[in-house]
């Protein structure tokens, strides 16, 4: 050992915490991207998040109703330590970081030196760099629970305020940031107005319904909305969430169990109603996306609905094909979180959902179960064409994005 002369260099970041720069946090992803040559690939992240409540004073200043806006702004200005005005949130939001084990989920307190753009633009840019993305679709976080708000008006006020704030303050800050206008879906007439208002706004590439809600998606009240969305040519996305107070989910004593089921359950219910009530037959050009439920629920539901449908076709007379055929043709699926403990199961899922055309990459950054593009790139059963489709080209075709990047 006497001959040893080399000293190891200390890593400048000994421990990641909530102040770590996203570029450092994602440094391994960036290096992986460079070694795989992602810069030559179109990579579209269909589902990433920012924490809009950090900017809640700004967002609420966009509320149109003058009385509610005034109330919200006074509250934001004067109440210390109180939750953001008007948001219902969910208890589960407090458990996402597994007791501090996942600091980027806890919060992003990193230094922002740029003053020419909003903080969320800087954070998004850094994540896009780390993950080697060309486009990132930005979704809110606590607003995902607005479908459970007891005041349906509040969903209208806040969705519309958020959409305006996002498209005026955040989206223009970086060419690759795009958004899906969030619809106040519990008030169908207002959701329709939101579509009409937002359809031609720069950076709005589709519409988002937060899935945690109890209003059936096949209600007649929504037909005009679906027709209008179909006419825009832009997709409708059902973004999953959970509701721990749901009586059956309330039996789960862990966030692990509640989250595993909750994020799939809401979309399982909505998809079932969507298909069995023949929405794809009524609106054949309407493209729907089923976001952040993972993929393993899809083969389950396909087989389950097919099996039952054959015996009870009279209850779903609009269907001309098997439920699974609609699910594999009229619906698109972002992959996150990629459940991949059984690789044969993943391969079978990909076949069943027509992954080569219907599957999209999503990171869900900065959430605790985010995925890097390597979850697709590293799959042993895909050829390069399929990987390129899933990582970006399918999304480009679906949303009309530039295949050469923004």
């Amino acid at each position: 050992m006497d001959a040893v002369v080399h000293n190891a260099k200390h890593h400048p970041i000994q421990e990641m915490d909530t102040t770590t720069d996203s570029r450092d946090y994602l440094g391994h992803a960036r290096r992986d991207a460079e070694s795989k040559g992602y810069d030559d690939w179109l990579i579209v992240d269909i589902d990433a998040h920012h924490v809009e409540s950090v900017s809640w004073s700004e967002v609420t200043s966009y509320i149109e109703d003058p009385v509610v806006r005034h109330q919200a702004m006074m509250y934001q200005k004067e109440r210390i330590g109180a939750p953001p005005y008007g948001l219902n949130g969910d208890l589960g939001l407090r458990y996402q970081d597994v007791g501090g084990r996942i600091p980027h989920q806890s919060s992003q307190r990193e230094k922002i030196e740029e003053i020419d753009v909003h903080r969320d633009v800087v954070l998004t840019r850094r994540a896009m760099h780390g993950l080697a993305l060309d486009y990132m679709v930005l979704f809110p976080t606590p607003m995902l629970f607005l479908g459970m708000h007891p005041q349906t008006d509040m969903e209208v006020f806040l969705c519309n305020a958020y959409n305006r704030w996002l498209t005026e303050r955040i989206v223009p800050g970086e060419p690759g940031i795009v958004s899906l206008a969030v619809l106040p879906f519990n008030t169908p007439d207002e959701a329709l107005k939101t579509v009409e208002k937002m359809a031609t706004v720069d950076g709005v590439i589709g519409f988002c319904v937060t899935s945690t809600r109890y209003k059936p998606v096949h209600s007649n009240e929504y037909m005009k909305l679906y027709r209008t969305i179909e006419e825009t040519g832009k997709p409708i996305a059902f973004h999953a969430g959970y509701h721990w107070q749901d009586p059956s989910l309330a039996t789960c004593n862990t966030f692990l169990g509640m989250h595993a089921l909750g994020f799939a359950w809401c979309n399982i219910v909505h998809m079932t109603n969507w298909i069995l009530n023949g929405i794809p037959e009524r609106f054949p050009q309407l493209k729907s996306l089923w976001v952040e439920s993972g993929l393993s629920w899809v083969p389950f539901l396909m087989q389950r609905l097919d099996d039952q449908y054959l015996m009870r076709q009279s209850e779903a007379p609009l269907l001309k094909r098997m439920p699974s055929e609609y699910m594999a043709k009229n619906c698109w699926y972002p992959c996150q979180p990629m459940e991949k403990s059984n690789i044969k199961g993943v391969e079978c899922t990909f076949e069943m959902i027509n992954a080569h055309s219907q599957l999209l990459y999503a990171s869900d950054w900065p959430h605790f179960d985010f995925d890097t593009p390597s979850v697709i790139y590293d799959l042993p059963f895909l050829d390069e064409k399929a990987k390129r489709n899933i990582l970006g080209l399918n999304a480009a075709r679906l949303f009309g994005l530039n295949e050469n990047g923004p």
Partner: protein, 121 residues
């Protein structure tokens, strides 16, 4: 590769770590009591910077003789490194994920000589 000096033993407190570069490799060196362990800073889950995570004691379920649960407790003997990307935990001593034998950290060789710690790749 030649052994590379990571530091003196007394620079490491009990239950602490140091992340270093050895060539282009990132290695985490951990002290637990009088023992040292070294693991590559690449998580077997999605390649995250596992050694740059936080240290947590292993959590156990507190069952009584009737198999009734009385919540969870920390195990004072077992210390895990938690990957900061998605929270997967790995035993500092064995490198194993506590919940599956399918996932483990990749080891590096660590040696202690004359009060100095060396890592060999």
């Amino acid at each position: 590769m030649e052994p590379v000096r990571v530091g003196a033993v007394d620079e490491f407190g009990d239950r602490t770590k140091r992340v270093v570069f050895i060539g282009h490799e990132e290695i985490g060196v951990f002290r637990l009591g009088d023992e040292f362990f070294a693991w590559r800073n690449k998580c077997p889950h999605q390649g995250g910077p596992v050694c740059q995570g936080r240290l947590y004691q292993l959590v156990r379920e507190n069952l009584d003789a009737d198999m009734k649960s009385h919540g969870r407790v920390y195990d004072d003997e077992k210390l895990n490194i938690v990957c900061p990307w998605h929270g997967l935990e790995f035993d500092i001593r064995t490198g194993q994920h506590p919940g599956t034998s399918d996932l483990a950290l990749e080891p590096a060789t660590v040696q202690v000589q004359a009060g100095e710690i060396y890592v060999l790749l």
